[in-house]
């Protein structure tokens, strides 16, 4: 892997854990090389679950949790309007910083809506054609990209994805 690669980050929002996990498993099996993937969900009783690959950890990289993946973006802005004219939208959350998966979970616990789920996948831009078609069930998704060293690129790509998600909301 090059030191200065173009990194893509795909973020997706879901209304069910099942759907997010289906996409999570699909990207793991898509044949593309992933730098990491995280699926976070919260059930109706408020219990949080976090699952992530350890690709980057295995490669000696910092891991997804270390680059500050956002978790406040999983309240999908899925309701355009009610019959009586109410515009409904939920903005993407702020970029958060975490050190560990536990922290990621902690933050997600505060921001993921009950019953919701989210997926974050990081991969080299060159793998996009394999990875992105595997994500088929996100209610809303965005892909950001950035160049630079590993962690810097991840952060940049995530910020780009969040920006796009927010623009989609607006």
């Amino acid at each position: 892997m090059k030191l200065h690669d173009t990194i893509d980050v795909l973020i997706g929002g879901y209304l069910s854990k099942d759907a997010a996990e289906e996409d999570y498993n699909a990207v793991l099996e898509c044949g593309g090389h992933l730098q990491g993937a995280v699926v976070v969900s919260k059930d109706l009783e408020g219990n949080l679950s976090v699952e992530e690959t350890d690709h980057m950890v295995a490669e000696g990289a910092a891991g997804l949790g270390a680059v500050g993946f956002a978790v406040g973006l999983f309240a999908p802005p899925l309701l355009a309007a009610t019959a009586i004219g109410a515009a409904i939208g939920a903005g993407a959350g702020a970029l958060l910083h975490h050190e560990t998966v536990e922290k990621l979970g902690e933050q997600a616990g505060a921001t993921i809506p009950l019953g919701g789920a989210g997926l974050i996948v990081a991969y080299s831009h060159s793998e996009a054609e394999k990875v992105e078609p595997a994500v088929t069930r996100a209610i809303q998704q965005a892909v950001g990209e950035a160049e630079g060293n590993h962690v810097k690129a991840l952060k940049g790509a995530l910020a780009d994805a969040q920006q796009k998600m927010a623009e989609h909301d607006a």
Binding site: L15, A19, L44, E45, T82, I84, G85, I88, A90, P113
Partner: protein, 802 residues
């Protein structure tokens, strides 16, 4: 024995015919004074069965895919009627059925939840139109109704009545069922006679949970046994009105599983299959044509492959639900047979009150109320939400309130166009009817093609029973019945057709039938679209009904309305148009679109009450009667006594996890959960426990703005001190639930917050002195008016699809 004068009700007692001296000496009793009115000789028992939200092409008895062995049995021993008609909406059909008069003329141009200031849409039956059950009761019948009612206005479904709008007020001795348009089959909020009895205790029995269709049959059989225990002769009139197949489609997996894989072919092919069977059975003419799919319905082949299993499951559950209804009606019929009375029981079984319902929108929904709240969800979103609540395999179970896709409804209305709400076409107006009466019907399994209408049911029953329509009831002169008896067709296949002319109107969709000709005048609105943009074209001064496109059919040659003859017969079009206007005026159909009056500024007076106080343990406040907390700021406060050691449980809760709110104490902490129709769920909890002793708690919702579905901030208070907060991004704009009630001190039925599911109903262990809703905090008069309008719009939206 001389017959009493039955033209005036109540029937006047004969004068005392004995002798009453100062003592018994020489006195002579007249035992007739302590008797009761007897029915005319030969009057049979009557069982009327009405299935809900089902189509002509649903039951196997009429070629459909749903196994209906009991319906078929009764049809094979009786008669099938294949040109029976109804208004295209729930309450109007029921009102017409139970009064023998056109629905608008008895105040039911729309549904029972929604009263307007126009005579045809009050939801109040005029005293001049006494219902059939009252006539039967006063003439000596025992009368009872079971199941769905839907003829009591929304705001009158509580202990204050007035009860003349309830089933007992319509002449039923006994009622067991639900007052609204739909109900959960698992945890309905029930009424019995004049009391809301709430969710049955058996709901909490995990091994053998309550199921309304079973209970309806049980209660009916119990009632039959009870009246026979008292009186071996007195005939009965039983009205068995199933909640099935109205949403929510609830049935146990055993019933749904019978249809596993039976609908994988999709709705287009299902229509073709049904149509072929209908011809084979002979329930439609050999030359009938299958009508085309309107572009409002997607082709099955265009549905995403990954979602086809989701769609198929919707229909599997609907089919299982419907077959279960057939099963339970069969139990009632078996019980009558066991009593030895089936031969002399007139059974009239109507499969559907308005065609199948398209109100699930194209996607179908895990929660039927999402449509009524105007929440646009894609099919993928719906699937994910179904997954959230247990997955498609749980569709039909207690965790969802599902409704299938409009396209399945269209298939259920084979071979016709459209369905419920569309009064202009047969999909919404023609349903199967079977009549069974072994004592008189000898031509077993025959088909009758007479044009009949639901207003004919009452006159037919009276005709057969030998009871005249009264001229006066309680001293009030009565309007004549509008329907006509078809009793002669039971025994005479050549009997002439008596019902030769009939108007139809449902939310602007209208038709005029006369002597075989049918003029269809459909508005452009798609029935399941109730957005402001969709309704604007019908604003006063904008809409001219005579500009609507028309279609003309000649039904004797065109059973399914497949060949539009309007261009060839402009004079017939004009004649029927004019006739429609005359009939509309005569039967109080005008003004057209009256149910939408609220959308166009014609609002009822603003309610005066801004505060609602509940003391004690008030329970089962029906969903249409809860305080108006929608779309603006509000507070809920409660005065509590917390015993030593603390308390837990629900202070107040409305409805369930698919839409509702709960203010409760858990782990000693005040907690508020709000479910925005199960799509979004918000929870806030105090950061400190409640103290012991007298304590006042409050939940304040500060809306971002007084507007529909507004977001806002929630703050929790203990003794006026803020102890917790959180944000609710979206709130429910119209209605939390179609059926579930609000309770003080517990959360009856399905719970709002799943965290206390295992402790339901999670009764409060302290003391609740009172709970107060303030629904008007900080709202200006102008805002109040705007919100009143918005609320009324929402109410209308609900009414359009109830």
């Amino acid at each position: 024995m001389s017959q009493p004068d039955r033209s005036k009700l109540p029937i006047q007692s004969a004068p005392f015919g004995g002798v009453a001296n100062r003592t018994l000496d020489g006195s002579k009793p007249d035992w007739s004074t302590i008797g009761h009115v007897d029915v005319p000789d030969g009057a049979p028992n009557v069982l009327v069965v009405l299935i809900d939200d089902a189509g002509f092409g649903n039951p196997a008895t009429f070629g459909g895919p749903i196994e209906t062995p009991n319906y078929t049995r009764i049809a094979n021993e009786g008669l099938r009627y294949n040109r029976f008609h109804v208004p295209a909406l729930c309450s109007p059909t029921r009102a017409a059925l139970l009064t023998g008069r056109n629905s608008h003329a008895v105040g039911f141009g729309s549904v029972g939840e929604f009263s307007t200031g126009f005579p045809g849409y009050t939801a109040f039956v005029p005293d001049e139109c006494t219902p059939i059950p009252r006539i039967l009761r006063d003439n000596g019948y025992s009368t009872a109704a079971f199941g769905k009612w839907h003829l009591t206005p929304d705001g009158q479904q509580g202990p204050a009545g007035p009860f003349n709008r309830w089933p007992t007020g319509w002449g039923f001795d006994y009622f067991y069922g639900f007052l609204g348009g739909g109900a959960s089959q698992w945890d309905p909020c029930l009424a019995e006679n004049q009391k809301i009895i709430g969710t049955p205790e058996d709901f909490y029995d995990e091994e053998d949970p309550y199921y309304l269709p079973d209970a309806m049959a049980d209660k009916t059989i119990e009632w039959l046994h009870a009246i026979r225990g008292q009186d071996a002769e007195k005939p009965f009139f039983a009205y068995f009105s199933t909640g099935c197949s109205h949403a929510p489609h609830h049935v146990s997996e055993a019933w749904a599983a019978k249809y596993k894989g039976k609908f994988d072919q999709g709705w287009d092919t299902l229509r073709e299959e049904t149509f072929a069977r209908q011809k084979e059975l002979g329930v439609i003419p050999a030359d009938a044509e299958l009508t085309e799919r309107d572009e409002a319905f997607p082709a099955w082949e265009d549905a995403p492959d990954k979602l086809k299993a989701y769609y198929a499951r919707q229909m599997e559950v609907y089919a299982g639900f419907s077959e279960n209804a057939d099963h339970n009606v069969g139990r009632v019929i078996d019980a009558i047979e066991e009593l030895g009375e089936l031969d002399n029981t007139l059974v009239i079984w109507i499969w559907g009150d308005n065609g199948a319902s398209m109100e699930g929108t194209i996607t179908g929904s895990f929660n039927e109320l999402t449509m009524q709240n105007g929440i646009p969800l894609t099919d993928e979103m719906q699937l994910q939400l179904a997954e959230r609540y247990g997955g498609v395999e749980a569709w039909g179970g207690q965790m969802m309130d599902p409704h299938y896709s409009a396209a399945w409804a269209w298939a259920g209305n084979t071979p016709f166009q459209w369905g419920k709400q569309v009064g202009s076409h047969l999909g919404g107006t023609r349903n199967p009817m079977v009549v069974h009466w072994p004592e008189r019907i000898s031509e077993h399994g025959a088909l009758r093609t007479h044009f009949t209408h639901v207003t004919d049911i009452g006159p037919t029953i009276l005709d057969i029973a030998g009871i005249p329509a009264p001229t006066h009831v309680d001293g009030i002169a009565q309007e004549p019945l509008h329907g006509v008896s078809f009793a002669d067709s039971l025994t005479d296949p050549a009997a002439s057709e008596h019902h030769t002319q009939q108007y139809f109107e449902t939310i602007g969709n209208r038709a005029m039938y006369k002597d075989g000709w049918w003029l269809a005048m459909k508005t452009a609105r798609i029935p399941w679209v109730i957005t402001p943009d969709a309704l604007k074209p019908y604003a006063p001064g904008v809409w001219n009904p005579d500009d609507d496109p028309v279609e003309l059919y000649y039904l004797p040659d065109d059973f399914s309305q497949a060949r539009d003859l309007a261009a060839e017969h402009p004079e017939k079009v004009q004649e029927l148009k004019e006739l429609f206007w005359a009939e509309a005026e005569k039967y109080k159909v005008l003004p057209l679109m009256a149910p939408l009056a609220g959308f166009f500024g014609m609002l009822p007076p603003l309610p005066a009450a801004a505060k609602h106080e509940f003391r004690g343990d008030v329970q089962n406040v029906l969903s249409g009667m809860i305080p108006r907390i929608y779309n603006h700021s509000y507070t809920i406060s409660a005065d509590l006594v917390i015993p030593p050691g603390g308390a837990e449980g629900v202070i107040v809760a409305e409805a369930d996890h698919l839409g509702g709110f709960s203010l409760f104490v858990d782990d000693g902490k005040l907690t508020h959960t709000y479910s925005m129709m199960g799509v979004f769920v918000f929870r806030q909890q105090a950061e400190e426990p409640l103290p012991e002793g007298d304590v006042s708690v409050r939940m304040e919702f500060a809306a971002d703005a007084a507007k529909p579905a507004t977001g806002g901030e929630v703050t929790l208070f203990i003794d006026d001190r803020p102890v917790g907060k959180g944000r609710m991004e979206h709130t429910v704009p119209v209605r939390f639930s179609g059926y579930a009630g609000m309770d003080i001190g517990r959360d009856n039925g399905g719970v709002v917050d799943r965290s206390y599911e295992d402790r339901k109903p999670f009764a409060f262990t302290g003391t609740i002195k009172k709970v107060v809703f303030d629904v008007n905090p900080h709202t200006s008069a102008e805002e109040a008016h705007e919100l009143h309008a918005a609320e009324h719009h929402g109410h209308t939206a609900h009414a359009l699809s109830a």
